[in-house]
């Protein structure tokens, strides 16, 4: 069976510090990978998605970036965090031509 991992689970960072969130998927190959941010009352905001290694599409202009160095690894990064980057970050995966999406446990980021 497939599983998706995210770490860390929670993170408190000062404004201006760098960020690296990691997501890995097990039990499947060539998944589509996604990063979402969820803010209270605002639903899920798609940040990035990737259909393959090194292929990243950005949905929202921001100071965040994503990378996919390996087939089942997806990393969300920032060089300098803003207060507005606080939120619940979710990684998800799906298979091409199979329209089901599965989420990881999430990372709660607080920027102070």
């Amino acid at each position: 069976s497939q599983t998706i991992h995210q770490w860390p689970a929670t993170l408190v960072q000062p404004v201006g510090s760098p960020l690296s969130l990691e997501c890995t998927v097990e039990g499947t190959s060539n998944p589509n990978l996604y990063w979402y941010r969820q803010a209270a009352g605002r639903g899920l905001q798609l940040l990035f998605y990737s259909v393959g290694i090194g292929q990243i599409s950005s949905e929202v202009p921001q100071n965040l970036s994503a990378s996919r160095p390996q087939d089942r690894q997806f990393i969300l990064s920032s060089k300098k965090l803003l207060l507005s980057d606080s939120g619940f970050y979710l990684c998800a995966w799906s298979k091409i031509l199979i329209n089901e999406q599965f989420f990881g446990p999430g990372t709660r980021l607080t920027v102070l």
Partner: protein, 112 residues
Amino acid sequence: QKEVEQDPGPLSVPEGAIVSLNCTYSNSAFQYFMWYRQYSRKGPELLMYTYSSGNKEDGRFTAQVDKSSKYISLFIRDSQPSDSATYLCAMSLGNTGNQFYFGTGTSLTVIP
């Protein structure tokens, strides 16, 4: 206009009640429809997945899709306190990019 509209609630029902959760959408090209359950501070969990119009039943849960009205529903029979969560609807076009469009979620509380 948002692609997907969902009443945020909150919705509060007594244990054993039938719950009806709904979403409307604007893009008639959506083909795949999903319902997720999200407990507080956790990632969303895929509950139901349907393709095109019709009904799908899984235990106490029934998902309905009416493409002519651009309206989807999730019914929960014999609701339990453990059903207390936020329910998100989602849909996709079914192309290879596999982008998903989410409602903002409805918060449900089942009172014992």
